[in-house]
Each structure stands twice: as structure tokens, then as C-alpha cells.
């Protein structure tokens, strides 16, 4: 297993370099250049030239990328226009909020998704099976922010059960219970689609192994059906499910942009949304870099976990 993980780690390094190259190239497709964006239309030509020289925009592309990388390695992602702070500072202050939402969503999606998938696999081609297929179709076709709006409308504005915006109440807020209440709707919104995908993958992975010899053996030993499913079948169906959970974790990071915007959740996604209208390119660039690197990291961890639960991968 170790050799696989090490090999996978070596494959990750060029991808990380590639990710930095792509985020660097984002400034190359700007109409005009970064100096124009940073100074706005009112600036004089002279100050533009000064900033260009200061940013090294008059140098070759290779030198610019090298400069970008050396800044990156020292933790310098530039200055945000909207927040008037270093990009890295803003990202660091909001990372925990985005991670909190993404982690609770993936836990919810995995736990409920695997449970529903198992429930459905016990009776394939039944009413509950068609129910899952239909739910997947609808969730697959639903803009995630629209689901958020519907939840706000029903549970926030009509029933008035749950808060719909931010992380804590302005009055009497701040406690753990208050935070949990604020998390319910955004977590549900973020988790919904992944939950359906995980349920579906669990269903088909279970159906793939449920007719195996070892399951029949377990049954013939007179074990209870619950024990056959939970101890003998489900663990053997997990590898493809883990892969899907890993992929979904990445989508949750990017889905955070939409969900945080709908619920004014003070994370990286909401900040990026605020950056779009102000053309805060340095911040958007930094946010994309951070989220993409987290995506790469999550995928690496998932592959390592995969090798752990499925030692056969060593042979491939």
C-alpha cells in the first residue's frame, strides 16, 4: 500500500504545478492587463506604466510565472481590491467557515446516501428504487442555488423554523446551538446532489456483490440478514462508493460558491462572489487556487484511503 501512496504522491506534484500555471494564466486572458484591472479606467497612462513595471508585467511570461511562484511559496497571493487586505489573509480567515460547511455536507451526504442506497438495494426494481431514480433525475436537473431558495422560502420565510442567512443571529446569537441552526439549510442544499449520487452508487455497488459466494456463505451460516448486509456485504461494496465520495468532496468545495452566496455564509465562496462584481481578479485567482489545491489534496487522501480498504489496487 505504501508504494502506491508514494507513487500517487509523485503524480500529484505535476498536477499541483499545473494548477498554479492555470491560475497564473488567468491574468493573461484579461482584456488589457492586470495593471488596468487594479487601477481602474480613471488612472493615467503614467501610473499604469509604473504599476506594470512594479508588477513585472513588462517581463517575459516565464519570468512572470517564476515571480508568481516565488510569491506563492512565500504565501503572497497579492492584494484584494474588495477587502483591501492581502488575499491570503482574507482566505485564511474564511477557510474554516467554508470547510465547516463542506465537511458537514459530505458527512451528511455519505451517511444518509449510504443508508438510502442500502435500503434501496435490498429491494431492487421496487417502488423505493424508482423513487431514488426519480430523485436523482430531479436533483441532477435542479440548479443548486434554486434548491437553496426553495428551502429558504419554506423553512425560513413560511414556517419560520430556521434562520436563512449568515452564521449567527445578530441578537442573542453566537452559541453553538445558534450556529447549528444556521448550518441546517446551507448544509442540506450543499449535500442534496451528492447524497443522491452516493445513494445511487451504493445501490449499484451493493447489487454487484450481493450475489457473491461469500454473501451466500454468510447466509448459509444462518447469520441474520442485518449482519449479512452490514458486516459481509457493505464493506465489500465500499471501494467504488469511496471514489464517488471523494469526487463529490471536490464538487462540494466548488458548490460552496453558490450555496454560500444564497445563504450569505461568510466563507471563501461568498467572498469570491463579492469579488466578481468588483473585478477583484487577485482575490478570485487566489480563491480558485486554494479550492483547487484542496480538491487535489482531497482526491489524494481518498486514493490513499481507497488503497487501504482495497489492497488489490497494489497489483494494478
Amino acid at each position: 500500500m505504501m508504494s502506491f501512496v508514494v507513487r500517487r504522491l509523485f503524480q500529484t506534484v505535476p498536477v499541483i504545478l499545473g494548477v498554479t500555471l492555470v491560475t497564473f494564466l488567468l491574468t493573461q486572458i484579461l482584456p488589457g492587463d492586470l495593471a488596468d484591472v487594479l487601477l481602474g479606467p480613471a488612472a493615467t497612462e503614467e501610473s499604469r506604466q509604473q504599476l506594470r513595471a512594479a508588477l513585472g508585467l513588462d517581463r517575459s511570461l516565464l519570468v512572470q510565472y517564476a515571480t508568481y511562484m516565488s510569491h506563492l511559496l512565500s504565501g503572497d497571493l497579492g492584494q484584494s481590491l474588495v477587502f483591501a487586505q492581502p488575499v491570503a489573509t482574507v482566505l485564511a480567515s474564511r477557510l474554516a467557515n467554508t470547510a465547516l460547511l463542506a465537511v458537514s455536507a459530505i458527512i451528511l451526504a455519505s451517511a444518509v446516501g449510504i443508508a438510502i442506497g442500502t435500503f434501496v438495494a435490498l429491494k431492487p426494481d421496487s417502488f423505493r428504487d424508482y423513487g431514488l431514480t426519480t430523485a436523482v433525475l430531479f436533483l441532477n436537473s435542479m440548479p443548486p442555488f434554486w434548491l437553496g431558495l426553495i428551502l429558504i422560502l419554506v423553512f425560513g420565510l413560511e414556517l419560520r423554523w430556521l434562520p436563512v442567512s449568515g452564521m449567527d443571529s445578530a441578537v442573542g446569537g453566537g452559541g453553538l446551538g445558534d450556529l447549528a441552526a444556521h448550518m441546517v439549510l446551507p448544509t442540506l442544499t450543499l449535500a442534496a446532489w451528492s447524497l443522491a449520487v452516493i445513494a445511487r452508487m451504493t445501490r449499484s455497488a451493493l447489487l454487484d456483490v450481493i450475489n457473491s459466494d461469500f454473501v451466500r456463505t454468510a447466509r448459509s451460516r444462518g447469520l441474520s440478514e442485518a449482519r449479512v448486509i452490514l458486516r459481509h456485504t457493505l464493506p465489500n461494496a465500499m471501494p467504488p462508493v469511496i471514489t464517488v465520495i471523494g469526487l463529490q468532496a471536490g464538487f462540494l468545495l466548488s458548490g460552496a460558491v453558490l450555496t454560500e452566496t444564497v445563504f450569505s455564509w461568510p466563507g471563501i465562496g461568498l467572498a469570491m462572489y463579492q469579488g466578481i462584481s468588483a473585478r477583484d481578479i487577485p482575490f478570485i485567482q487566489g480563491g480558485i487556487l486554494l479550492l483547487a489545491l484542496m480538491f487535489v489534496l482531497v482526491n489524494f487522501l481518498v486514493d490513499a484511503l481507497y488503497a487501504y480498504v482495497n489492497p488489490k489496487i497494489e497489483l494494478q
Binding site: L26, L30, L137, S141, W146, L149
Partner: protein, 276 residues
């Protein structure tokens, strides 16, 4: 034909899309009002108000008319990026899959890097860098979907390359170009058409998402994602302004997804339904 008509999902998808296409084509005739005409005296009218079947928005514009004209844009931003990405990504996949070797490795590594970005994130970056608008939104969508098309086509080509008919065509002395375009391409079209249809459904959501974030066509253009985004501010007093365009987006995406699922069952029965 028997298989076609028994496939209810496929037929339902076609009917749904035909309805939306008709709405888009005949928007001029069907729309009761000018979609851009603001009328401050009738702001936020409820649905089923006489004269305004689906009510009015924050500027008093008729929502039904805006939906009908918005259908044009919705179809455009779903289909056009798919076709461009299919052509570009498909040709790249066909070329490197057929040629193999160093080019294949280089292109696949580039695709690996692009897959390291969750799709909407890279699209958001490209859209924000190019500046908001229809054109940059389409460019962003094309760039982020090319790698997937490239991979699907390359995978099919790699499998087809080993078939005997390819060997036979080569043995007859046909050029690589002819073998790739005339012999391999038609044989790998099935999974590609299926993938393209499902991607069109995903594009509906991607376009609506970019539009929602302010990167799509700018006001006052009637665009579903943008209607939803502006309607959101008045959710408490006039929820229909945001919920109705969302419903339209969902119907369009369901149409393409049903069509794609149906096409998969028809063209490619071996493809597993649960592949992400």
C-alpha cells in the same frame, strides 16, 4: 422503432424539449408583452393576475414574456458550448487516441490538470477574467468541458483501434486520416452522442449558475439565471419572481437528462448507468 417508442423517458424528454424549443421559436407571437417593457405601476404582481399569467417582476415586466424570450438564450447557452466543446475536444481525443505516443501523454497530462479544477470554479475564473457577458460565459463553458469530451472520445478510439476492421482498413493502404475519420469515427459516435446530450443538461445548470453569479448576459436581457438572481432579493414579498425561472431551468435540464438517459439505453446498452 419498437425500442424507441417503448422508451418513455426518451419520448418524455423529446416532448419537453420540443415544447421549450417551440416557446423559444415563437416567443414573438406567444409573448403577451414586450419582455423589456418596465411598468412601475404593476410591480410584483402575483401569478394568475389577468393579463399577466405568471405575474410581474420588480420592474413590472411580464414574467411569462421574459421566460419565453429567455428560452432562446437558455437553449443557446446549453447547446452551443456543447457543440463547440464536442468538436474541439472530440478532434483532440480522436487525434491523440489514434496517434498515441508522446502527444497522447502530453494532452492527457494537460487534461489531468484541468480536471483538478472543479468545473464551475475554473469557468468562474475564466468568466471573471474575460469580464461578464454572453461571449465570455460560452468561452468559459467550452474550455472547462473540452477535457471530458476529449477523454470520452479518446477512450472509445483506443478501444476501436484494436478492432479488426481498423487493421483491415490499414492493410488496404488507406491514409491515417481516412481510417480515423471514415472508419473509426462512425463507430465511436454512440457513446459520444450520449455523453454530449447529458453534458447539454449539465450545461443548462452550469450556465444558470454562472449567470446567477453575475457572469452571464447582463440586464435587461431576459436570461433565466439572471431573473432568478435578481428575483432573490424580493423573496419575502414576491417569491414567484425567483421560483418560476428556477422551475424553467429545471424543466429544460430534465428534458436533456431524459433524452440523454434514453439515448444511452438505445445507443449504448452496455454503458453503466451509474458512472459519474
Amino acid at each position: 422503432m419498437q425500442r424507441l417508442s417503448s422508451n418513455t423517458a426518451f419520448v418524455a424528454g423529446i416532448l419537453l424539449l420540443a415544447g421549450i424549443l417551440a416557446a423559444a421559436l415563437f416567443a414573438d407571437a406567444l409573448a403577451p408583452h414586450d419582455p423589456l417593457l418596465a411598468n412601475p405601476s404593476v410591480r410584483h404582481l402575483r401569478p394568475f393576475t389577468p393579463g399577466h399569467l405568471l405575474g410581474t417582476d420588480e420592474l413590472g415586466r411580464d414574467i411569462a414574456s421574459r421566460l419565453l424570450f429567455g428560452a432562446r438564450l437558455a437553449l443557446l447557452v446549453a447547446v452551443v458550448p456543447t457543440l463547440i466543446a464536442l468538436a474541439v475536444g472530440g478532434l483532440i481525443g480522436l487525434a491523440v487516441g489514434y496517434a498515441g505516443g508522446a502527444w497522447d501523454s502530453v494532452v492527457m497530462r494537460v487534461f489531468d490538470v484541468m480536471f483538478a479544477f472543479p468545473g464551475i470554479l475554473l469557468a468562474l475564473g475564466i468568466g471573471a477574467a474575460l469580464g461578464p457577458g454572453l461571449g465570455s460565459m460560452i468561452i468559459a463553458m467550452v474550455v472547462v468541458t473540452i477535457p471530458a469530451f476529449g477523454r470520452v472520445v479518446r477512450g472509445s478510439v483506443l478501444a476501436a483501434k484494436e478492432e479488426q476492421y481498423v487493421e483491415a482498413a490499414r492493410a488496404l493502404g488507406y491514409s491515417h486520416w481516412r481510417v480515423a475519420m471514415v472508419h473509426i469515427l462512425p463507430n465511436v459516435l454512440g457513446p459520444i452522442v450520449v455523453y454530449a446530450t447529458l453534458q447539454t443538461g449539465r450545461n443548462v445548470i452550469l450556465a444558470a449558475s454562472l449567470s446567477f453569479l453575475g457572469l452571464g448576459p447582463q440586464p435587461p436581457t431576459p436570461d433565466w439565471g439572471q431573473m432568478l438572481s435578481t428575483g432573490r432579493t424580493a423573496l419575502a414579498i414576491a417569491a414567484h419572481v425567483a421560483t418560476i425561472p428556477g422551475l424553467a431551468i429545471m424543466l429544460l435540464a430534465i428534458g436533456f437528462n431524459l433524452l440523454g438517459d434514453g439515448a444511452r439505453d438505445l445507443l449504448d446498452p452496455r454503458m453503466k448507468r451509474d458512472q459519474p
